[in-house]
């Protein structure tokens, strides 16, 4: 029997903006918790008060329904849950609405939840493509693999720090992705992110349980990450320069890769 208390995961408002597969992060977390014998409950919140949980997951694309997401979180008392010490992984739309403000396609700036000291704006064109980060010593993370699909650009304020530096991809500003503030991580990385990055899943589980976790195997997801990183380094534009059958005229590969 595990020495850990049951873990409560809550997926918040996955239908508020367009889905991007981020709910899959919950499957990875439940699996890696299970490897340690930790019982997990996963709830999905579509309306009303945000229930008490140990780890909250947000995601979705940054479309014009971000204000809907922000309002539901506000009405549900999410900021209070975070202040109580819960861990959070917020991707893309989730990331931007947790900041101090964000911008929708019509140019309107909206108030965010203020859980992250991050101010997001909106670029004229989309950032779409594979991402490889640099290893992060602070959290003990290897180079992460994911992909981005967003119009947002983000400035991290003094109350937070950037989540990771980038080798390939745009993220916040071409140099860093996301933000971290206490046990809250915001990021632009989809995948689902944790499917390829078991070490990050374990960091979040450690925060959520408040414990040092026993080591658990991650052989397959590490091999997957290595494969994806190698492919993306070899072809930074994504699959032979063609994504979903259309030639992409986004930023050229040389601009997306950050040397040094």
């Amino acid at each position: 029997m595990s020495a850990h208390a049951p873990l409560r995961l809550a997926i918040l408002h996955p239908l508020a903006t367009a889905a991007a597969g981020d709910e899959g992060n919950a499957r990875v977390l439940a699996h890696r918790a299970g490897l340690r014998g930790i019982e997990v409950t996963v709830s999905t919140v579509h309306e009303g008060a945000v229930p008490e949980a140990d780890l909250y997951l947000l995601g979705g694309l940054d479309d014009d329904r971000m204000p809907v997401l922000a309002q539901r979180l506000r009405d549900g008392g999410f900021a209070d849950r975070v202040a109580s010490g819960a861990a959070v992984l917020a991707v893309n739309a989730g990331y931007q609405v947790l900041g101090t403000s964000f911008v929708t396609a019509d140019g309107t700036r909206h108030d965010g939840l203020g859980v992250l000291d991050v101010r997001s704006s909106r670029a004229g064109s989309a950032f779409l493509g594979p991402v490889v980060t640099r290893p992060d010593g602070a959290l003990g993370l290897a180079a992460l693999s994911g992909y981005e699909s967003h119009h947002g650009t983000s400035e991290v304020g003094p109350g937070a720090e950037p989540f990771v530096a980038l080798e390939l991809g745009h993220g916040n500003d071409g140099a860093h992705d996301g933000a971290r503030q206490g046990h809250v991580i915001g990021t632009y990385l989809h995948g689902p992110l944790l499917a390829r990055n078991a070490d990050l899943a374990d960091v979040l589980l450690g925060w959520a349980t408040g414990a040092v976790l026993e080591p658990a195997p991650a052989t397959t997801s590490d091999a997957l990450r290595a494969q994806r990183v190698a492919e993306d380094r070899a072809d930074p534009s994504g699959w032979g320069g063609r994504l979903y059958g259309k030639a992409h005229r986004r930023s050229r590969p040389s601009l997306r890769r950050h040397r040094g």
Binding site: A18, G21, E23, L61, A195, L224
Partner: protein, 375 residues
């Protein structure tokens, strides 16, 4: 290829036209409907999946003697084709999320709702009563008797749990029973005009006929129900329509069993979470030999599989293959399903014992494997 702006309008002038759209099953349902209508005369039909305006125009131009037309359409050209073809029937079966199209579900639904609400159009909509999102947008047409409700089933409910009318939660009080209700505004499942019970399709005014489907999969029965219901609404006797639908044995090569050294291989194409769920459920039901073949398609190509509970495959013999096999391996480990890895898809099929082999493949893997197996 560019077409003349009036092409569809000119080519379809004067003949009854049915337009079929959905996230999943539109090719199959359209094929079945074309078969049913063929019992009453030649039919123009854009088979082969060319479901944008150009494909529609081409099909119409190649069937100038057609007395009816069935047009399978991409979700985002429903409005233009319906308008240009003067469609008298619009079939809407289901709508759910996709990750590789670049069009959000919300945008698709808004487009459909706008088309249905267009005061200049007077078609009859054949709508899925079991899908709250489709039912909500078709409800306003009831007053003008412009809706035919089909109990089309709904296994993927994840994108329909919030009412489009009031944003409250939709519930299915009795679990698998199709009856749904909005907890906010009280919107509820309409009484279907057409439904299947014990292998018999029942319709208005006592219409009924045995509904046999010669293709594998639970969804295929639903597709057949839509096809027969629409054909009857267009004037084809129910028995003749049901018989014609029962004779459909393939759709663009998707369902044909391919024999390979004692293995009977069926390929199931998966594109989005709902089709993953259908293919996985079917495989889980069979508890036999399952090959998951995934090749590179786009940066989001493996995302749909993460939305689906793969644990139903535990108990089957599972092999993963293709360039994206490690993605699938990680999914299966998270679901607690044992598997083996075989790099090459044809070798993966041959690694299974003689007998049926259920292959779940994404678009690129499906095309490659079908070509190699039939070479």
């Amino acid at each position: 290829m560019k077409i003349q702006p009036q092409a569809i309008s000119v080519l379809s002038h004067g003949i009854p036209v049915a337009v079929v759209s959905a996230t999943n099953g539109k090719s199959t349902a359209a094929t079945m409907l074309a078969a049913a209508l063929s019992t009453a005369g030649p039919v123009a039909f854009n088979s082969g999946g060319s479901n944008m305006r150009e494909g529609v125009a081409m099909a119409l131009s190649q069937a100038r003697r057609a007395t009816r037309a069935v047009l399978e359409v991409d979700e985002m050209v429903l409005g233009p084709v319906t308008r240009e073809a003067g469609a008298g029937w619009v079939v809407l079966m289901n709508a759910s999320r996709e990750y590789t199209r670049g069009v959000s579900l919300e945008r698709t639904l808004d487009h459909w709702a706008t088309t249905l609400a267009d005061p200049d159009l007077s078609f009859t909509v054949v709508a899925n009563a079991d899908d709250p999102v489709i039912a909500e947008m078709a409800m306003p047409l009831r007053a003008a008797s412009r809706v035919v409700w089909v109990a089309g089933g709904m296994e993927w409910r994840h994108d329909s749990v919030l009412c489009r009318r009031c944003a409250s939660r939709v519930e299915w009080p009795d679990g698998h029973d199709p009856a749904w209700v909005c907890t906010g505004c009280g919107l509820e499942r309409p009484e279907p005009d057409w439904f299947v019970a014990d292998g018999v399709l029942h319709g208005p005014h006592g219409a009924q006929a045995p509904l046999a489907v010669n293709l594998p999969g639970r969804w295929l029965v639903s597709n057949a129900a839509f096809a027969v219901a629409t054909a009857v609404t267009m004037g084809v006797p129910v028995a003749a329509a049901a018989r014609a639908v029962a004779e459909v044995s393939d759709v663009d090569g998707r369902y044909r069993a391919i024999e390979l050294e004692g293995r009977s291989v069926r390929l199931f194409l998966v594109k989005n979470p709902a089709s993953w769920m259908e293919a996985v459920s079917l495989g889980g039901d069979a508890q036999g030999s399952i090959v998951l073949a995934m090749e590179t398609f786009s940066i989001r190509d493996m995302t749909p599989g993460w939305d689906v509970d793969l644990s139903v495959l535990a108990g089957s013999t599972v092999v993963v293959t293709g360039q994206r096999r490690l993605d699938v391996a990680v999914m299966l480990e998270a679901a607690g399903v044992p598997y083996t890895v075989v790099d090459d898809p044809v070798e993966a099929v041959l690694s299974m014992p003689p007998g049926p082999v259920h292959v779940i493949a994404n678009y690129t893997a499906f095309k490659d494997l079908r070509r190699r197996l039939t070479a």
